[in-house]
Every structure is written in structure tokens, then in C-alpha cells.
């Protein structure tokens, strides 16, 4: 297993956000995590990176226990995240954002890395000297993914990359995710509200509610699952009778 999360519990003050989560991801997979707002999806991604730290349970990456490592050291091992809300540095240029992204990579490969992300997102090349805060939402999303890729991660954590984007841009982003996975071999753990797209893309998927993993399976299995269709997929309630979904 590349990433193994076992019995992880996370708290914000007194509020428990994760209640014993188990997730396992293999090298080369795209795994998606779907669930309603507030289910704890983003918290899980952040807990993997050590911010906030897991109160109980164990997280290991490539066989190494990372539960107690500081965030910057976890990133050094080959995990990168494009977080919720994108968190672009607003008063730094696109290029500087990418430079910060390459903090843990060797400087010799910077030009190569930039060329690679500009190939994935040609728009960023045009905007390279523009400040992050002046980019549109879609451009910021591309920059957030590009910035995460600059550290040459083996595991990429993506938090809602399609949030707030125009439909055409959504499929573009999903194409890029697929390309990163297939042609570069980067393992991807994808949190999404857009469950239909995510389940079609992913090899496997987890469903989360109230800080627990409810269900897991291949993307196709969950797409065909009536309960999932009713709860998370657009138009799901129309295609299946709501009563049936409840029985399933």
C-alpha cells in the first residue's frame, strides 16, 4: 500500500471531525472520496498532511509512519496537496507561486518542472507574471494543481478541483488529472462534490458521512449503487425511485 490510513480520529477543539477513518491507496491508482458538505473529506486530506494532526490512529506512506511528522517533512516524502479554497498566494506572481511549490524539489529541475505544468495548463504560461490574486477562479484552480505538481509528488491530494468552475473547464481539469495519473504515474486521491465525474474517473472510491467511511468499491460499482445514485449523483433521484433507494 502506498498510503494507509488506519482508525484516524481528528478534532477541531472539542468537535470531532473524523471518527475512525480507514483508507488505503495503492501506487498508480486514482481514488476518489465523495460525500456531503461537512462529512470530513477535507479534514481527512489535511490530516494526512499533518495539519491538524490525528489525535488517534495511524497514517503511513510507503511503509513509513508519518502520523507525527511535521507538515513540511511529510511533503518532502512525496505528498502534495491542492487544498480546499485553492489558497493561492495572492500577492505573488504565478511563477513565484510555482517556485514556492518547488521548495522540496531540487532547483536544477525547476525549468523542466515549469515547462511540464505549462504544457498541462497553457493558460498559466500567458499569466506567468500576473499576481495570483488577480487570476480568475478557474485559473487559480489550475495554478493550485500546477503548484502542487512542482514538488514532483508521488501522491497528489486534490480537494474539490472542480468547485465553482464552468462545465467546460470542469472536464478540462478532469482530463488533466487523468493525464497526470496515466502518463506520469502520479497516484491521486481526489475529493469531489461532483460525484458523477469523479466516480467515472476513479479506479476506486470511498463514500464519507459524519466523519466515517460508509462504503467503498470501484468507481463503477458505486455509480451503479442505487443509494449512492440517490444521495450523491445529479438526477439520481429521478432515475431511481426514492423509495427503492431507501430500501437498498
Amino acid at each position: 500500500m502506498m498510503l494507509e490510513v488506519t482508525g484516524v480520529e481528528t478534532f477541531y477543539g472539542n468537535i470531532q471531525a473524523l471518527r475512525g477513518v480507514d483508507v488505503a491507496i495503492q501506487q498508480g491508482e486514482i481514488v476518489t472520496l465523495i460525500g456531503a458538505n461537512g462529512a470530513g473529506k477535507s479534514t481527512l486530506l489535511m490530516t494526512i498532511c499533518g495539519d491538524p494532526r490525528a489525535a488517534r490512529g495511524r497514517i503511513s506512506f510507503e511503509g513509513r509512519d508519518i502520523t507525527r511528522l511535521p507538515t513540511y517533512e511529510i511533503v518532502r516524502l512525496g505528498i502534495a496537496q491542492s487544498p480546499e479554497g485553492r489558497r493561492i498566494f495572492p500577492r505573488m506572481t504565478v511563477l513565484e507561486n510555482l517556485q514556492i511549490g518547488s521548495t522540496v524539489a531540487s532547483e536544477d529541475h525547476f525549468d523542466e518542472g515549469v515547462a511540464r505544468v505549462f504544457k498541462l495548463f497553457p493558460l498559466l504560461q500567458e499569466r506567468r507574471n500576473q499576481r495570483g490574486g488577480t487570476l480568475s477562479g478557474g485559473e487559480q484552480q489550475m495554478l493550485a494543481i500546477a503548484r502542487a505538481l512542482m514538488s514532483r509528488p508521488r501522491l497528489l491530494l486534490l480537494d474539490e478541483p472542480s468547485l465553482g468552475l464552468a462545465p467546460r473547464l470542469v472536464s478540462q481539469i478532469f482530463d488533466v488529472i487523468k493525464e497526470i495519473n496515466e502518463s506520469e504515474g502520479v497516484t491521486i486521491f481526489l475529493v469531489e462534490q461532483n460525484a458523477y465525474h469523479a466516480l467515472r474517473l476513479a479506479h476506486r472510491a470511498y463514500v464519507m458521512a459524519n466523519g466515517n467511511i460508509l462504503m467503498s468499491g470501484t468507481g463503477q460499482e458505486l455509480l451503479n449503487n442505487d443509494e449512492i445514485r440517490a444521495a450523491y449523483l445529479e438526477g439520481g433521484a429521478r432515475k431511481t425511485d426514492v423509495g427503492q433507494a431507501g430500501d437498498a
Binding site: 518532502r76 502534495a80 487544498p83 498566494f89 500577492r91 514556492i100 511549490g101 521548495t103 502542487a148 514538488s151
Partner: protein, 308 residues
């Protein structure tokens, strides 16, 4: 005399000299505020400790017989910056880092506590009386003359301006061109995100304190050379003036701290020259009040514009 242009030039030179000291201290306030959002009220004491280090270094060099002045000043400059930086680093490590994540008030009160502690620490070790130092070099360039009134730019003042401008240039280059500077700016804008990208935030904050302390140390050296006398209490007023300068320029903005420092220096010099020396502090602080009323973000500070 009072109304002549020569007199004005003379006061301007005085103001810029004083402003160099304020600006170098103010940069430390603004760097630390930018990166961790706290006012390090012990920073004035770091400046005072810098002045003491400079004095001790001069005495030691005198004892071991290094009397060629350019070499002596260079050694004192480096020794003072290094030793004072250790104080800045320790201050953050011991007093502020354990409080990271706690309410701002806790850090603020700790800073005031550290300020009192460092004052008393120096008073105990060095004694409370004034410490004089003889002038190292005299003379200067005569700029202009009006009857008996001669305006000179002393060699010491030339040295102070060159040193200050060099340090400011180096600092600006570090912030904009190096990976340390980039990490600092990233931490300033979003510390959590910087960590997610592999930036060692604790180390970056430590180095920010070190940079602020090194610049304050140079301000201490300049103070010592310019006034020739120091005591354990000089950090208080200079610290508050420099803080005023940082706020005037826009706290968090490095160019703002530089500008604010020189402005406060000039305001003080003009006020002392044309009105009364007794009320020069009131003048500086009144300007602060006016700025805060009419432009609360300071001269060069701007409210963050973020598009989400």
C-alpha cells in the same frame, strides 16, 4: 540663521541620520508583524543590546590592539550583528514559539515582559550608569556656508547613510530574489499553505527574527557612534519611535518601514530645529495619530485585496 536654507539643510542631514536608526529598527517590527502578526515590543531592547555589543566589541578590539579604524568598524559590525542575532533568535525560540497558536494578547504581554526582562538583564550585567565612547573619526565635507554658519556633512554621517542604504538594498534583494525571501513572503500570506508546500515555517520565522535583530544591531552601532553614549534604557524610546515609524509607513510593508523611519527622523529634527526640543516626541507621535485617523493602513500599506 533660523530662516536660512543652510539651516534647513543642516536639520535635514540630522533628520536623515536619526531616521537611519529608526528605519533600521522599524524594519524588524514590520518583518515580524508581517510574518506572525505580532508586535515584538522587545525589539527596542534588541537594538539596545546591539549598542552594548558594539561598545564591548570596540573595547575588546582596543585592548588587543586593532586600531586601524576601517578594520575595527568592520569587525565590530559583523560581531555585533552576529551576537545580537543570537538574542533575536533566542527570544523567538524561548518566548514566542511556545505561544504560537495562542491568543494574540498572550504573545503581546509576553513581548512586553521580555522587554522588561532584557532591560533589567543588561542593567544587572552592565550597571545602570551611562557608558560613554570616544569619537572614532571626526571631520567632514563642507557643503555650504552662510556667514559664520557652516553646514558640514561629517564622515560619520556619510558612513551611516552608506551603511543604511547598503543594508536596505541587501534586505530588499533577499526578500525579492532569494528562496528565503520567497518563503518569508509565502509565510506572510498563508503560513499553513506554505507548510503544505514543504516550507519549514518555524525556520523561516526564526530567520526573520535573526534578520530583524541584525538590522537593529546595526542601528545600535550607529546610535553608539553618533551619540557616543548609551545606557540600558535607550531601547525604550527608540523602540517606540521605530514602532511609530513602522505604523506610519504601513506595518507589514518593508519599504513603508524605511520611509516611515526617515520621516519620523526628519519630523523630529525639523521640530527640534524650528520649534522646541522638549516637544519633539510629541511631534512624532502626533503625526502618528493623524496618519491613523486619515490613513489607518499607513502610507505604503494597503488593505489586502484578495479575489477568491
Amino acid at each position: 540663521m533660523l530662516g536660512t536654507f543652510e539651516y534647513f539643510v543642516d536639520q535635514t542631514i540630522n533628520g536623515l541620520t536619526l531616521g537611519s536608526i529608526y528605519a533600521l529598527i522599524a524594519i524588524g517590527y514590520t518583518l515580524v508583524y508581517g510574518i506572525i502578526g505580532m508586535i515584538n515590543f522587545a525589539h527596542g531592547e534588541i537594538f539596545m543590546i546591539g549598542a552594548f555589543h558594539a561598545l564591548i566589541a570596540f573595547l575588546v578590539l582596543g585592548l588587543i590592539g586593532i586600531t586601524w579604524i576601517p578594520l575595527a568598524i568592520l569587525i565590530v559590525l559583523i560581531a555585533t550583528m552576529v551576537l545580537t542575532s543570537i538574542y533575536g533568535w533566542t527570544l523567538e525560540r524561548v518566548a514566542y514559539r511556545p505561544l504560537r497558536g495562542s491568543p494574540r494578547l498572550a504573545a503581546l504581554i509576553t513581548a512586553i515582559g521580555m522587554s522588561i526582562f532584557l532591560q533589567n538583564y543588561v542593567q544587572l550585567l552592565q550597571g545602570a550608569r551611562n557608558k560613554p565612547m570616544q569619537q572614532l573619526f571626526s571631520g567632514g565635507i563642507e557643503l555650504m556656508r552662510e556667514g559664520d554658519y557652516v553646514v558640514t556633512l561629517s564622515y560619520l554621517q556619510i558612513f551611516i547613510f552608506l551603511l543604511t542604504i547598503t543594508l536596505m538594498t541587501v534586505l530588499t534583494l533577499i526578500i525579492h530574489r532569494t528562496s528565503l525571501g520567497r518563503s518569508q513572503r509565502a509565510c506572510e500570506q498563508d503560513r499553513g499553505m506554505a507548510a503544505l508546500l514543504g516550507v519549514n515555517v518555524d525556520r523561516t520565522i526564526s530567520l526573520t527574527f535573526v534578520m530583524g535583530a541584525a538590522l537593529a544591531a546595526v542601528a545600535g552601532l550607529i546610535f553608539l557612534m553618533n551619540y557616543g553614549v548609551i545606557d540600558f534604557y535607550i531601547g525604550f524610546l527608540a523602540g517606540i519611535k521605530a514602532f511609530t515609524a513602522a505604523v506610519l509607513g504601513g506595518i507589514g510593508s518593508v519599504p513603508g518601514a524605511m520611509l516611515g523611519g526617515f520621516l519620523i527622523g526628519l519630523i523630529e529634527a525639523y521640530w527640534s530645529g524650528y520649534f522646541t526640543v522638549e516637544y519633539k516626541d510629541v511631534a512624532a507621535f502626533s503625526i502618528l495619530v493623524l496618519v491613523l485617523i486619515f490613513r489607518p493602513t499607513g502610507l505604503l500599506g494597503s488593505p489586502d485585496i484578495e479575489k477568491v
